[in-house]
Symmetry: C2
Subunit: 373 residues, 2 copies
Amino acid sequence: MFEFRLERIIGAARAGTLALPHGEVRTPAFMPVGTYGVVRGLSPADVRRTGAQIVLGNTYHLHLRPGEEVVRTMGGLNRFTTWDRPMLTDSGGFQVFSLEGLRRISENGVEFQSHVDGSFRILTPERAIEIQRTLGADIAMAFDHVVPGQAPHALALEGMERTLRWLDRCRLRHEELAVETQTLWPIIQGGTHDELRMQSLEGTLERGPWTGIAIGGLSVGESKPVMHRVLEQLGPALPRDIPRYLMGVGFPADLLEGITRGIDLFDCVAATRNGRHGTAWLPAGRVNVRGAALTGSREPLDPECDCETCTTFPRGYLRHLFVVEDMLGMRLVSIHNIRFLVRLGEQARARILDGTFDGWSRDWLRRHYARAS
Amino acid sequence: MFEFRLERIIGAARAGTLALPHGEVRTPAFMPVGTYGVVRGLSPADVRRTGAQIVLGNTYHLHLRPGEEVVRTMGGLNRFTTWDRPMLTDSGGFQVFSLEGLRRISENGVEFQSHVDGSFRILTPERAIEIQRTLGADIAMAFDHVVPGQAPHALALEGMERTLRWLDRCRLRHEELAVETQTLWPIIQGGTHDELRMQSLEGTLERGPWTGIAIGGLSVGESKPVMHRVLEQLGPALPRDIPRYLMGVGFPADLLEGITRGIDLFDCVAATRNGRHGTAWLPAGRVNVRGAALTGSREPLDPECDCETCTTFPRGYLRHLFVVEDMLGMRLVSIHNIRFLVRLGEQARARILDGTFDGWSRDWLRRHYARAS
């Protein structure tokens, strides 16, 4: 269990298969975000049809609503949501550190005010692990101290060192709970400071072994070249034989940029958030589905796409759904955007396995950036 | 085409099959309402899975958005929406007469102000037919003068007589357009005044033959016993060999009460409107899906139901969806409520065909009213 079988490497790009209690995940792969145990507006069947192999649940949100004890009563996250494939829960770290003004950080943990009812709560490394244990996902994440993308050295150092100390407490609590069907992954921090990132990685590996490793604190305000530099620096030092998860990334190009630099797993809310706002991702760039240009069009949204939306509905109908504010529109564009990222992972995997990844990804990115500029 | 095959009659209740260009409709049957060419929040596949055989589209709404010419450009209502089974469009009469203060009635038609952009428009019998011709549903409805359920005799008389004069104009325009794939059904008016209802029916039949006949102006404020009395009075005088459609009705009990009095087709927005508000229809009465009592429940919403929602999701998850305001909740309860009415039609049909309808419907209604009181 939790074994990662590396199948091929082209440059830094990797294709592998991760065995989890609820099934296998073929990488590289995009994980849709199911904030409250549901990918916004989609049924598990909708998500399954996108080809998604694993869904992320947000510990912070699920802790507040419905509360982990309710999820336990219902048999855990998979039974609660009826999603029967692998799941990963984040630790809540990213969310509570984002609650500017509503949280107080100490060595013990983070005291915060619920955005739902204003109640005061505390999340510690131990609590984050206990809650995730109760939720019961295949993969639990360590509770980390997240700093903004532009954080100065001193703050990035503080967050990085605290993340390592908290990792010890997470690991201890996770071992005490002795959960055979759940593994714990650590998170590399250190902001955009190269030596802090390396220290974080070294400190994390000293505390290993791990079945997977995550890179946190990226895509939080820093520029893309800086994110790429951090990935390139970390890449060669990361263990080869476990999956690497780049948290909170990405947009379509981010996925390929990450895969090119050796990342195996991604998650991001952009696919569904954009979908709800009527922004669809196409190979030729974004399209605003509300746009008057789509009126009366019988063409599919993306003629190259095999998703439920593109193989069923004409563009003109999708536009109409947004104009009359029918929630079906939000669902259908979310489905397309998720499929777009899932398929990008599938395509990258196929290209890695058949050895044509380098040229294909270079062409894809060149076309993408040409259109975006 | 448009042939109605009557299969069995038990008392006044009837089982039949209506042949339409896009397929057969086995009656009695409930038609979900697809206001803008979509059943709110549901995909055609969702609707298909409820067992619905025919969907109603609102001419008033589709005329305003996207406009019938856009629908024509896209190949008609079926291609536009990708719903490939029968459809019926209402005439817009009910909607424009409901626009209190925003409409002016004359013999020519109704001038009204669009609720979308405030533009002034006019709907006449001819325009209502032309728009419906352009939309291209299997069944078009005559443009009628609808009066409130409590309308006094003079107003009900005026509306009833005008509806007959307008029926001549509708019929003429429909014949001029010579649409082989669309039939026109007239609407009986006359409020709650027995002799006006009979005059309306006689005047309508004089203008026949028709392939179906509708009863309008009910469930608009009058009491249930009054509605039942109107149906009982009209029933024996209605032609046996064409389907009878009770417009804008109903709730679960209304369906059985109508079937018992010889009605074959129904439509109503209550199933989806209730669904979006989290009210689910169960054999044991309504349940508020937001209710705290459902927290943590692993039971299905309705253990007797075979819909996608009840066979997949636990109650506790449905409640959670409403608490966190995820639109999936609205979809799932709408699906259940539609299936509830569609299944009630299927059950009634089976009981009529096997001769056990009387006892079954009496028991069903007795249990239903006992729980509701």
